[in-house]
């Protein structure tokens, strides 16, 4: 396991990270050089930079069939990390495009730089193979996001949002770090891939291991906003700038799942019988809490926040199934969810920007003001509700199939009952969009070009994942196979 000599594979493996670092530095420098009225172009730069990194990574970083540990076992270069890195880069690029028309992000170089920095942290989270690396990566992701959540200076809600996110994040990180330290104490190594073997030989009581697992799970549950560590999500989403809320609910959640999958399957395979029910219960609670609370929301951002809590519950079904199909399903679901939720938050961005409100009542008459926008919202909400021909449908079928395949029929049934509740409130929103009228209904909404591009990408993604899902399914299978 010792690190080999320095070679080209190691550099290629961290090509995305190098690119992100360079992009972040470039954005910071240009932010100083450019005049105020040019700064909006930083959004184009960030988005195209991220897209370029995606392409380069796709060409040069695609992992070999055999996973490799690089940099002294700090990172693992495998398909799981690669696929997740692509997801993060895509999400970040879309977020940059949405940010361009959202005050106060649009002309602030720091915002783009922080976005890139958080993405860098996420890519490291997905590939971290060492406890220390993992912790650093999580913090690297979280700290820029704390700042971004509180980015609207002088706005009490945004400040509250940033601060709340920080407090929750710091506390759960501390608990998780305690778990990490116990693991190190038991095993004498921080290498994730060596821990399992040592823990098994070490004759530790199951009780101890489960206790450690639960400490670690606290940190991960916070990241994916699973019950009971979901309380921050609605307040933080509501207060933070909308594109950032979209980013938090998608890419940041995906990063949490990347870590969760790897950690549970690699470090704790021997206590599977204990944590599968635990995870199934967390998943159930997450779905139920998210969906029932979403029912009562009158603010679309909060509604989407609760819905995204519930969505995490569906993805946990796939993880709790602990099978190649289950992980495949979760990865596929995450991807579909990422493009879908970004589209939904994109609509909220544009409506909030024009009407100054995120309340549901601001959406009345939207289908008359902006039929195209209403149609995008329709696609996004139905995909979240798991209706064909959109990506969410395939994701949901895969997740339920995985649960049934692993004999968790009760979990699939609960998931399905929840998807019915979810459809109810998604339809309620669509009803306001299509049926209710407002005084402004004849004033068209201005739709900027950057936004239209990002939205077009999302809608195409949703439709592709819902119809021609073969290629992405194959990717998800490959990603899942690096855990088994």
């Amino acid at each position: 396991m010792a690190a080999g000599p320095f070679n080209a594979t190691m550099i290629l493996a961290i090509l995305p990270q190098i690119g992100l670092l360079a992009l972040g530095v470039l954005v910071s420098i240009l932010d100083l050089l450019w005049k105020e009225n040019q700064k909006r172009n930083l959004g184009w730069l960030t988005a195209s930079g991220l897209a370029l990194i995606m392409v380069l990574a796709g060409v040069f970083t695609a992992p070999a069939a055999q996973p490799v540990l690089v940099f002294g076992g700090m990172l693992r270069h495998d398909w799981l990390s690669f696929v997740f890195q692509m997801i993060f880069l895509f999400g970040a690029a879309l977020t940059a495009l949405f940010a361009m028309d959202s005050e106060p992000l649009s002309r602030k170089g720091e915002a783009y730089m922080l976005l890139v920095a958080a993405t860098l942290g996420m890519t490291l989270m997905a590939s971290a193979a060492d406890l220390i690396m993992l912790f650093l990566a999580i913090e690297m992701t979280s700290i820029p996001l704390y700042i971004l959540a509180g980015f609207i200076v002088g706005d009490n809600k945004s400040t509250e949002s940033g601060f709340k996110y920080l407090l929750f994040g710091a506390t759960t990180s501390a608990v998780m770090l305690y778990g990490f330290s116990l693991l190190y104490g038991f095993a004498g190594t921080t290498q994730i891939y060596q821990l399992a073997g040592i823990l098994q030989q070490g004759q530790f009581s199951t009780f101890t291991l489960i206790a450690v697992l639960m400490l670690v799970l606290v940190g991960f549950s916070f990241k994916v906003s699973a019950v009971p560590f979901h309380f921050w999500a609605p307040d933080v989403y509501e207060g933070s700038p909308t594109p950032i809320a979209g980013f938090l609910s998608t890419a940041s959640k995906a990063a949490g799942f990347a870590v969760l999958m790897r950690f549970l399957l690699v470090v704790f395979p021997m206590t599977e019988h204990y944590w599968i029910p635990l995870l199934a219960v967390i998943s159930t609670a997450t779905m139920i809490v998210g969906n029932t609370l979403a029912l009562a929301q009158k603010n679309v951002k909060r509604l989407l926040a609760y819905s995204s809590i519930a969505q995490a519950g569906y993805m946990l079904i796939g993880v709790a199934s602990v099978s190649p199909l289950g992980i495949t399903a979760s990865v596929f679901y995450l991807t579909a969810y990422l493009v879908t939720n970004l589209a939904a938050f994109g609509v909220v961005t544009i409506v909030g920007r024009s009407t100054g409100s995120d309340e549901l009542s601001a959406y009345a008459g939207l289908s008359r003001r902006a039929p195209g926008l209403a149609m995008v919202f329709l696609v996004a909400l139905l995909s979240l509700g798991g209706i064909p021909p959109f990506g969410g449908f395939v994701g949901k079928i895969l997740v339920f199939a995985a649960a049934i395949n692993s004999n968790l029929i009760w979990l699939a049934v609960l998931g399905i009952l929840n998807s019915i509740i979810a459809l109810y409130y998604y339809l309620m929103v669509l009803k306001v969009v299509y049926l209710y009228r407002s005084e402004d209904e004849n004033r068209p909404l201005a739709i900027p070009r950057s936004w239209a591009i990002a939205m077009g990408l999302c809608v195409v993604g949703i439709l592709l994942l819902g119809t021609v899902f073969g290629p992405w399914y194959q990717w998800s299978v490959t990603a899942a196979s690096s855990l088994f």
Partner: protein
């Protein structure tokens, strides 16, 4: 490879819908023309396919098959047999008539017609699916057009309630059936969603006993089975006319058809185990639906509940698991689809002109709109099962099947249902179309439009044609039923 005619039937409306969505909203007439053109293409191709179907050969014809997700055994597979072919024709006719009679829609016709086209793709898609995944795919596409069309263009007083109730009921049904379908997929061990392959899966008796009710009742909710029928009248009444026609005329058959195709054909042993329950519930459907229809004061609710009653006959036909019963059920699906589409069309036309559906206020309308009146009377005769009309061709075999395969009490009760049907139909006809024309309607009420007459004429002719010449359809349905019986006998 032959011309993929079924794909063209299914996807022409979808493409038209997408095209309509991309058009500028002000182009109201062009939108309608495009939609009607697409509906005509699908209808003409459906007619062509219907008459090209080789009845003596039977089995699945016009089969298309492409891999979709081979890793999971999902394929894109289309084909029709003797049972689904008439339903494809039914969908073609009703979509075409629905597009015709909605010509007067002025509020956002672009969205209305786009959603109508998406709904058409969904129903066509279910009828021709030979793959279980694909069947669900098309089945659930219908969720949002249904909901939005009812909620936006529906009857203002009840549309929000009716739309949500209908959508949630149907979604619940389909996801419950989905669980069963996934269980079948894994239990078969064949790693395929192919319906033809799954027919030979030989599921164990206990598996079938557990999962048959899940799948059957999941789909049968959409078929309006008691006690899960209450979405139907509420939803149909709240819906705009074209959607009522499609929902009652075609969507309910989608449910019944899927229950037959997936539950009965794939789990035949389960069907035999549970036939008694279907029999009881469907009998309740027939009687209860008819009684409730009898006491309605709202014209549209009468038709809404009559659908519940008539769909009960379809399910009764299924429950007999006999050649006569299933053939009758297949015929009834077509006959009732056409009939109820005509009923809802006429109700819509009357309401549009009088602005009331209260039976006590209506009267003498036949003087003002003779086409609508005659059409309704023809529909009524079909509904009562009069010889010479398609209703007789459909209901008579069902009663034969019930009499032969079940205790006589069920046949007696079901026939009583027909008597009640005659009572409520005659009551509505006499009150609404004959009797005194209220003075307030003397002036304001005009005749139906030419497009309406085309729709009424087409639907009426079909019902009479099938009554006079049952051989146009019965042999085809029989060829499909033979296959079902082979599965039922061979399990």
């Amino acid at each position: 490879m032959q011309f993929p005619i079924l794909s063209v039937i299914v996807f022409t409306p979808l493409l038209a819908g997408l095209l309509i969505v991309l058009m500028p909203p002000a182009r109201k007439t062009e939108v309608k023309v495009i939609a009607l053109a697409a509906a005509s293409v699908s209808l003409l191709l459906a007619i062509w396919t219907y008459f090209s179907y080789n009845v003596s050969a039977g089995g699945y014809q016009f089969v298309e098959r492409l891999p979709w997700l081979p890793q999971l055994g999902i394929s894109y597979a289309m084909g029709v047999d003797g049972i689904s072919m008439p339903l494809v024709l039914l969908a073609g006719v009703v979509v075409f008539c629905g597009a015709l009679i909605s010509w007067g829609i002025d509020d956002r016709p672009r969205e209305f017609y786009a959603f109508l086209m998406f709904l058409a793709t969904s129903v066509f898609g279910v009828f021709v699916s030979l793959d279980l995944f694909q069947l669900f795919f098309f089945f659930e596409i219908a969720v949002f057009p249904k909901y939005l069309m009812i909620v936006v263009w529906g009857y203002p007083k009840t549309r929000e309630y009716g739309a949500m109730k209908l959508t949630l009921y149907l979604f619940i049904g389909s996801v419950v059936a989905l669980i069963g379908a996934l269980a079948m997929y894994f239990a078969s061990g064949l790693h395929t969603f192919d319906l033809i392959a799954l027919e030979k899966a030989n599921f164990s008796a206990s598996f079938q006993y557990i999962w048959f009710p899940v799948v059957f009742f999941g789909f049968a909710i959409l078929g309006g089975i008691f006690p899960f029928h209450s979405w139907a009248p509420d939803g149909h009444v709240a819906a705009p006319t074209a959607v009522s026609m499609l929902l009652a005329g075609v969507e309910m058959k989608v449910g019944a058809f899927a229950a037959l195709r997936v539950a009965i054909m794939l789990l035949p042993q389960g069907a035999r185990d549970w036939a008694w329950l279907i029999l009881i519930l469907a009998t309740v459907n027939v009687i209860y639906g008819a009684f409730i229809a009898m006491i309605q004061t709202d014209f549209k609710y009468v038709i809404g509940f009559s659908s519940v009653s008539h769909m009960g006959l379809v399910l009764l036909g299924f429950a007999t698991l006999s050649a006569e019963g299933l053939t009758g059920a297949g015929m009834q699906m077509f006959s009732h689809g056409i009939m109820t589409a005509l009923f809802f069309a006429v109700v819509g036309m009357a309401y549009d002109r009088t602005h009331t559906r209260d039976i006590s206020k209506l009267g003498g309308l036949i003087k003002k709109m003779p086409w609508a009146g005659v059409g309704f009377i023809i529909g009524g005769l079909v509904s009562m099962g009069m010889p010479g009309f398609s209703g007789f061709t459909a209901e008579f075999p069902i009663f034969m099947g019930i009499w032969r395969s079940t205790p006589p009490i069920f046949a007696i009760i079901a026939v009583v249902g027909v008597v009640i049907t005659a009572a409520y139909i005659l009551r509505v006809v006499s009150k609404v179309f004959f009797g005194e024309l209220s003075p307030e309607f003397e002036q304001g009420v005009g005749d139906v439009t030419v497009l309406d007459k085309v729709a009424i004429g087409l639907l009426s002719v079909l019902m009479i044609a099938l009554g006079v010449l049952p051989s146009l359809m019965v042999p085809m349905v029989q060829s499909g039923v033979e296959h079902v019986l082979r599965l039922l006998g061979g399990a």
